[in-house]
Symmetry: C2
């Protein structure tokens, strides 16, 4: 990879001159780059993001920064993550058409991707904090997770192709290492970059003293770090989804890596659940109904995932795993095999879900669902519900009865006071 | 990799001229290559193997063939497997010193490795068929499996190093593909290259009609093909072990791949069990005592594995998994975590064990333990015990109480008549 040799960060002044000659961008924005207007809109921590506007239309230009912006330039991060983001976007577009922004241009050396501007899409997390309902959200995201999980696995892919892809993505070391540390380990001890809301100390102490919980979390880390079932998005929270009120797209797969088929769906549901638990900090009116809507989205996401996975199992099982030669061709029903695969997939998903609920309140990168609640005692009490339910999910992951049961569990935690 | 461009198979005539100039070989065998004598001794299916002898000593030269010899040249097989064999030997030597032959020289383009000549070592399978006892066998092999499993995993290795190695070995596609098909899938349906002893038909039909068994076997394939816990030898049967009556070495890691930590130990124990069940076809005298000796070796192998794994857990847990920061540094005992890791490792091992017992009687590559029994009805009855126990191991893998219980199970099957 010829990355970074002559890397130079873009800014709003230099962008038109530097990208004006790129046909795919010029044809989207306008042939005369001097007519472009450029805004930097990145609110992430790892990248520059520009909206480029011209007479013909708009485009987004995303460029990786060589460090994590959240902690200054003291935490260097390789530019090659743009290379993986590009490769992930291409694969997601093929496996789940219509779910990700169209890539217009990729420059590996500059670690930049120009892509379709999504309008009037807004980050889903903002809509969930604002109490807005997005139509069709559950089916869309459940389907995305099922298609990328199934079609990126050896249930579907030829093994040689899949192994070559595993080798390619194995080069993405530092980014998954962030997940490994921040998500799976740091929440469970007093790691240097951790922070949590004042008032949560008793809950935090309880979780960190729970050896069985730590063993389960590390077991999930072991599975995450040494499992290559499929190419996961790797960071599928509500900040990686952009929605209008009727449709959505999935962005930012720079944390893509081969991992368990249940990883993305588990992390996604954790983010729904955090939206659910945080709602009392954002509204009084429409509270109960909106919280119930979020639980409906969880159930619909899980149901769509299962239905689409089963559909693909029946119609696209072309890889070496669970081959038809062993089942259908022998007049043996393969449904019990699909049941077993899904059961194990959901065990991973619920464990990841609980861990994600922990790390977003205890580790470095918190989320706006809780962080924007200014009333600290209220925030702590809502986070406590989220943390306690997370612990139950991690420890009971192998024995849960599915999304409906998890939603019932959430209703119970939502009534309780742990502080 | 610059493999095979000018590849030319060695023969006993050309070998001295071609390797005479290689210092590491010449210093082992003798400076004057015209004084060397060369014998081809390969009894394998994939390689040429030469013993080179001269005034200074002996060496072995192993060269990969571009096809599987067992089925003529109709099944081409990439020469790059010598590259992986070399890299596996180097890693095994570092992780379990003294267990593998010393590498003298590696020529990637010629797919050849010159290595230490082991003398008076004989293939372990031959000793087991002959009823010979090898001192210290269980502790030696248990220790090898534990050390390579642990030290090749992220319990020990830095994640970046391990991921780079996963990427390297992900290039070894065709060889693991043989394992994937021949071991995990072909036994369970009427695959083209299968064969089995006349008289076994009712047992074979029973196994192939057992949907639960097939689901479990495919689940294990899923885990084998998408799990990178450690670098496994990948083919650790009694033909990959050379022993005197007091010491052993492990050879032929060309099937090396990243896989579950329980893979090698499971396949090894299957081969012990096949030696056990086949004994009535090889001797009358010393039968009971020799069979019991084999079971003792199984128990000692498992005990040595567990003891060494626990020792390394306590003393060399330097990787990111189950870090001391979460356990010892918090005055929390990490033994429950080690118990959980070992429990899951053994679940994989017993499933692999049962599958290996099946494939060696039902798929393409049988083993001499059974194949050399000329009395076909006797052979079938012994293979039937082996097959039926294999099915129990696969289906009960998650609930077995350990090697002692498995040995007890073997005694039971050894008394039964299934035909």
């Amino acid at each position: 990879m010829g990355l970074g040799q002559d890397y130079e960060a873009l800014d709003v002044e230099t962008l038109p001159a530097r990208l004006g000659g790129v046909g795919a961008v010029a044809s989207r924005v306008g042939a005369d780059a001097s007519s472009w207007t450029v805004r930097e809109v990145g609110d992430g921590n790892l990248n520059l993001v520009f909206i480029v506007e011209g007479p013909a239309g708009k485009a987004v230009v995303k460029q990786a920064l060589p460090y994590v912006r959240l902690v200054g330039d003291s935490w260097p991060l390789p530019l090659y993550r743009a290379f993986y983001e590009y490769h992930a976007l291409v694969r997601q577009a093929a496996r789940a058409p219509g779910t990700v922004p169209e890539v217009l241009y990729f420059d590996e050396r500059q670690a930049l991707i120009a892509m379709e501007y999504l309008e009037p899409h807004v980050i889903l997390r903002k809509r969930l904090i604002a109490g807005e309902r997005v139509e069709g959200l559950g089916p869309f995201l459940g389907c995305f997770c099922a298609r990328t999980a199934f079609r990126g696995s050896e249930l579907y892919m030829a093994s040689a192709d899949k192994k070559a892809d595993v080798a390619l993505f194995a080069g993405n070391v530092e980014i998954p290492a962030i997940t490994e540390a921040l998500v799976f380990t740091d929440p469970y001890y007093d790691a240097e970059m951790n922070n949590h809301t004042a008032g949560l100390d008793p809950i935090v102490a309880k979780l960190r003293a729970d050896v069985a919980l730590k063993v389960k979390a590390q077991r999930m880390l072991q599975r995450f770090a040494s499992n290559t079932e499929t190419m996961a998005h790797g960071d599928l929270h509500s900040g990686s989804i952009m929605s209008t009120l009727t449709e959505s797209r999935i962005i930012d797969p720079e944390f893509a890596q081969y991992g368990p088929m249940g990883f993305d769906i588990g992390m996604l549901i954790a983010n729904y659940l955090m939206a659910y638990f945080s709602q009392p900090g954002h509204r009084d009116s429409d509270l109960d109904a909106y919280q119930e809507w979020i639980l409906t989205v969880i159930e619909e996401t899980a149901a769509a995932f299962d239905a689409e996975f089963r559909r693909l199992w029946a119609t696209e099982r072309t890889g070496m795993l669970y081959p038809k030669a062993l089942f259908e061709d022998q007049n043996h029903d393969s449904a019990p095999a699909c049941d077993a695969v899904l059961a194990e997939l959901w065990q991973d998903a619920w464990a990841v879900c609980g861990i994600e609920m922990h790390r977003r309140c205890l580790s470095l990168a918190h989320n706006a669902d809780f962080e924007t609640i200014e009333d600290e005692p209220l925030r702590a009490s809502l986070e406590a519900r989220n943390l306690m339910m997370g612990a139950e999910l991690v420890k009971a992951a192998d024995d849960l009865a599915g999304a409906k049961a998890v939603c019932g569990m959430a209703r119970g935690y939502n009534e309780r006071d742990f502080l």
